[in-house]
């Protein structure tokens, strides 16, 4: 690894409570990710992938340990700082797409820019560029219910890019897609990693992203396991 890591976690721990029972989702994870890496986060269901991803995205706070992402200490950040962090630093892609059904494709893509109160004109032009790059220029005025799964996920990726984030976090991005669309989405993520130098972290339990990954991290029982998940 060269230079300062864009993600640096030390003894990162997250404990949930299920009734009176504490459940340790992450147990003292140490992690450093270099800028421009494409990391595949692997592990079986319940291994802690989603918990780690939600901490990296600023959606959740660690119970213990430290987490610094793009120079921001997320463990110490207040609510307003976390909001700014989500607007400026990360872009999220979900398995279920999570497009707003009441907005058309263009408005869905512009949504993070709208939330960040960015000027409308440039945001719109950027969204149109992204949609054209995604092959969705002709779908701008369609609503999510009128799109295929692959189109919805490409819209979601365009949305993740609208604020030009340093890091793309994708949670099972191919989970709801057929293999052809799944491969296309992985190719897109790889493309924006290679061409635009974005750090991409993909949480998945499939092997579809293995061939584009610069690094593979395997999680088991809330901890990073040495070596490949396959072993």
């Amino acid at each position: 690894m060269t230079g300062t890591p864009i993600i640096e976690a030390r003894a990162l721990t997250r404990v949930y409570r299920l009734g009176d029972t504490p459940v340790t989702a992450l147990a003292g994870v140490d992690l450093a990710v270099a800028p421009g890496a494409l990391v595949v986060l692997k592990g079986v269901s319940g291994s802690g992938k989603s918990t780690l991803l939600s901490l990296l995205a600023g959606l959740d706070r660690p119970s213990a340990g430290s987490l610094v992402v793009a120079g921001r200490d997320l463990g110490a950040a207040g609510e307003a700082e976390l909001t700014l962090f989500r607007r400026q630093v990360v872009g999220m892609v979900f398995q279920n797409f999570n497009l707003l059904p009441t907005l058309d494709v263009l408005d869905n893509v512009c949504l993070p820019a709208l939330l960040a109160a960015r000027p409308r004109g440039p945001a719109r032009r950027r969204a149109e560029e992204l949609l054209a790059w995604m092959g969705l220029a002709h779908r701008q005025r369609h609503f999510p219910a009128q799109l295929s799964g692959g189109e919805m996920q490409r819209t979601a990726i365009a949305r993740a890019l609208i604020n030009d984030p340093q890091i793309i976090l994708a949670d099972e991005p191919t989970g709801n897609l057929d293999s052809r669309n799944g491969r296309a989405v992985v190719a897109l993520l790889a493309d924006l990693n290679r061409r635009w130098g974005r750090t991409v972290i993909i949480a998945t339990h499939s092997t579809i992203a293995d061939r584009v990954a610069t690094r593979e991290i395997c999680l088991a029982d809330g901890a990073i396991r040495d070596g490949s998940c396959a072993s």
Partner: protein, 857 residues
């Protein structure tokens, strides 16, 4: 059977457990529906109690009579009793007289005095002395043997502390007389009239006390055997002019019809709370149906039929209805105690005198409230249940986003809404059954439905316009506008609830204001005068007893420089419609007062009226009899036939029926020697002169007259008006409270339903504050739209209330006046309250941790 058992088990596991798990929401909805049902039930029970009291009194007074002999506008000659007793077809003929009197010691506690012939009356009415010893049982002999003796009803004797043998002073038109309490009667039979608050006296005593010698109110007849209509007709033909044979229930039917009209109006108003509660049920059942779509698809995939899914959600509605009603009944028994006094007081003041002693939980009323509550709840669950039916088994394999609603549906609903609105006026013009404003209420329902159906389309356009008009610059505003645009029927239903409540509020504000302003004009013009004088107890006895000739003479001889306007009133019937014929010197009256004219030229009618060339009729009389200007008014008073052209229609708001005004000289020309039933004096508001007048009258007439100043009389009329509408106001506030609960539930539901969307916004960089502002903006959209549409609907509704429902119910209309001040003050207040009701929903925003987005698979 096995299917039913299986369904019930599924209902328990799937629906009831879910409701229990989210008991906070369920309890809110239950509270709303229970409150609505409780208000409806207690209002009905209160009016029922008054109706039962009235019917009980009329039935007990009527006894076993097959027919009654009556004389409209006067007394039946007493000599007729002997003639009827000789008729071979009759087993009994018993004269009856009745009036209200009061004890000198306690003038506020007036009660009924019934005069009978104790011997002739026995076959018709039963009554028992309270003590069973021989002396007590012979008390009726005392009535006949000794003048000024009475038998007291059990409740009255108890209330006033009367003992047998005690002397009590009673007052009536002729002044006070000392009576001896000869005994007390039980509450059985005649003794139960007005819940035992009466006295029974011998007919001769009654006549001496009231000065009505030689006449009786009516003669009750009992046939020797079953008589056919022909035989009764033959008997009727032998009666002297002005005397008629009637069925004993005539007065009961007229009185009951008036109270029923009042009950229907209150019932409809109280039903508003239940109607608004319906929206609460809809919101929760709709949430359950939408948020459990995945579970429903699992059920379908595992073999549940579409019917089962439909039944599950209809069942939820039914559970709310049944539980809501169950909670409502004990609440009603508390609520009714407060309502009973107010309602019986209003009924007594406005329609018929009632003395409610106890409340009966009528199975019919309980059944009606149960059926209505459950029906309303099931109806509310109908649409969500139909949506649930549409869940396909294949959905279990997909995780598609919710589809936005498409405009076609909103357009279809809007078209249906416009259809409903277009049907309102034609329907309102359909004449309904007498006293039952069925077309008016149906038109009102169509109006509400029309506005509610327009809501999705209107919201869609409002949201679209708002998003375009600068909304894009501010994320919360833009997103809220877009959500409102596409949220379809879900938000439209809550807006419908608000429209209903606001419309009712607005319409009632306008109606009550219009009514009051018109009544103010009426009392200032038609009830003009500085001092009103009438025989004692005249008002409660409908001015039936004329002033003593000596008192009339004394008034004529007063020389205090005041204008004297005497009146003579007759209580008559046109077919079965009761009305008052009032005669007064109209030339003198018009110098100081006036009628409130409806159309026509008052300038030309006034002189003709003063010359006795015709009559004016109130719009109540005109509406109920179908008679109007250009037609002739005819009446029979005793043996005299009256016949005048109707010159104009005027407004009049006495509640005992319509009124016909004629000049006193014109009446005296046809009924010579007619007396006065009261006098009003005009003294140009000169207080010292009014006081001198009062003293002169006391000196001349002693204690025989009741006097009230014009200002006091007019103030008391307006006070009665305000008290009458106090119940209306309470019912309205309850409807608004239920609507506020509806807003709380609906917005909470909208927030909970979109937990995933809200978390997505957060993940995309939305701040908590932005999301809360978005929800609040949505609430503001819904509340503003609901309020605006509610106000528009309210203006239409006020028109229906004033010109259709009041006319169909009571026969009158008012001058339309909008209370802009009250509306301007209350409109922002309602918006503020509705937005406050939205605050609990904000508490639910992002209660689920945003990280759930990643775990929710």
């Amino acid at each position: 059977m096995r299917q039913l058992t299986a369904f019930l088990r599924l209902f328990y596991l799937f629906s009831l457990r879910h409701l229990l798990r989210h008991r906070g929401r369920a309890l809110t909805v239950l509270a709303g529906i229970a409150l609505g049902a409780a208000v409806f039930t207690s209002v009905r029970l209160s009016v029922d109690a008054s109706l039962a009291s009235f019917a009980n009194t009329v039935d007990r007074l009527a006894g076993k009579a097959d027919r009654v002999v009556l004389a409209d506008g006067g007394g039946v000659p007493e000599t007729l009793v002997a003639e009827l007793l000789r008729h071979p077809a009759l087993r009994a003929a018993a004269p009856v007289m009745s009036t209200y009197v009061r004890p000198s010691t306690d003038p506020e506690r007036s009660f009924r005095m019934v005069g009978i012939d104790p011997i002739l009356d026995r076959p018709l009415r039963a009554w028992e002395a309270e003590d069973r010893d021989r002396a007590a049982r012979a008390a009726w002999v005392s009535l006949m043997a000794r003048p000024a003796t009475l038998l007291a009803g059990a409740s009255l004797a108890r209330d006033l502390g009367w003992r047998v043998g005690q002397k009590v002073d009673l007052e009536h038109a002729r002044g006070p007389v000392a009576f001896e309490v000869a005994g007390r009667v039980t509450s059985d039979g005649l003794g139960g009239v007005e819940a035992g608050r009466l006295v029974i006296v011998d007919l001769a005593t009654f006549q001496e006390f009231t000065g009505r010698l030689g006449e009786v109110d009516r003669i009750d007849l009992l046939a020797a055997e079953d008589l056919g209509e022909d035989e009764w007709d033959l008997l009727a033909a032998r009666l002297p002019p002005g005397v008629a044979l009637a069925l004993p229930g005539g007065a009961k039917a007229a009185g009951t019809a008036m109270v029923r009209a009042y009950q229907i109006n209150l019932s409809v108003l109280s039903f508003a709370s239940l109607f608004v509660g319906m929206f609460l049920v809809y919101s929760l059942v709709a949430l359950n149906a939408a948020s459990r779509r995945q579970e429903l698809s699992v059920l379908r995939a595992m073999g549940a039929g579409r019917g089962w899914l439909f039944a599950l959600f209809i069942g939820e509605g039914a559970v709310f209805g049944i539980l809501g009603w169950t909670v409502a009944i004990p609440v009603s028994t508390v609520l009714v105690k407060y309502l009973l006094a107010a309602v019986s007081q209003t009924v007594s003041t406005l329609f018929v005198r009632v003395a409610v002693e106890r409340l009966v939980l009528s199975p019919a009323e309980l059944g009606l409230s149960f059926v209505l509550t459950v029906a309303v709840s099931v109806l509310a669950a109908w649409q969500p249940a139909r949506e649930a039916m549409g869940v396909a088994p294949r959905e279990v394999m997909t995780q598609l986003p919710l589809s936005p609603r498409y405009p076609a549906r909103a357009r279809r609903l809007a078209a249906a809404g416009i259809g409903c609105l277009l049907a309102v006026l034609p329907l309102a013009r359909v004449p309904g059954p007498p006293g039952l404003p069925l077309p008016g209420y149906l038109a009102t329902l169509l109006l509400f439905v029309g506005f509610a159906l327009l809501a999705p389309w209107s919201l869609r356009h409002l949201g679209a316009r708002a998003a375009v008009l600068g909304g894009r610059r501010r994320a919360p505003f833009f997103l809220a506008a877009r959500y409102v645009r596409d949220s379809g029927t879900r938000t439209a239903v809550s807006v419908g609830a608000l429209i209903t409540a606001v419309a009712l509020f607005c319409a009632l504000v306008i109606m009550v204001h219009s009514f009051r302003r018109t009544v103010e004009v009426w009392v200032s013009q038609t009830i003009a005068g500085d001092l009103f004088v009438a025989p004692r107890m005249a008002e409660i006895n409908n001015f039936r007893d004329p002033m003593a000739p000596a008192d009339v003479e004394a008034v004529r001889n007063l020389d205090l420089g005041v204008t004297i306007v005497p009146h003579r009133r007759y209580n008559l019937h046109h077919a079965a419609v009761p009305y008052t014929l009032e005669a007064m010197p109209l030339a003198a009256f018009f110098r100081h007062g006036d009628f409130v004219w409806i159309g026509g030229s008052a300038e030309t009618v006034r002189p003709a009226l003063a010359r006795g060339e015709g009559v004016v009729v109130s719009e109540v009389f005109a509406h109920r009899t179908g008679l109007g200007p250009g037609q002739r008014f005819t009446a029979q008073v005793g043996d005299r036939r009256l016949d005048w052209p109707i010159l104009a229609v005027i407004r009049d708001y006495r509640t005992q029926g319509g009124v016909v005004f004629v000049d006193l000289d014109a009446l005296t020309a046809r009924i010579p020697g007619t007396g006065w039933t009261g006098v009003r004096f005009f003294a140009d508001g000169n207080l010292p002169r009014i006081e001198a007048l009062r003293q002169a009258l006391i000196t001349a007439c002693g204690e025989r007259l009741d006097m009230v100043s014009g200002a006091e009389l007019r103030a008391s009329i307006l006070q009665v008006f305000d008290e009458t509408f106090a119940i209306t106001t309470v019912l309205l506030l309850i409807a608004l409270a239920v609507a506020a609960l509806g807003i709380t539930t609906t917005l909470t539901v909208l927030v909970l339903e979109r937990a995933r969307q809200l978390n997505t916004l957060l993940a995309l960089g939305g701040a908590y504050g932005q999301i809360r502002r978005m929800i609040l903006t949505e609430a503001a959209f819904l509340v503003t739209a609901g309020e605006a549409a509610g106000l528009a609907c309210g203006f239409f509704l006020s028109y229906l209330l004033i010109y259709v429902i009041n006319r169909q119910s009571f026969g009158w209309t008012f001058v339309y006046r909008v209370d802009w001040g009250a509306l301007a003050l209350s409109a922002p207040l309602i918006v503020a309250v509705a937005l406050l009701a939205a605050l609990p929903a904000l508490g639910h925003v992002l209660r689920q941790p945003p990280a759930a987005l990643l775990r929710d698979r």
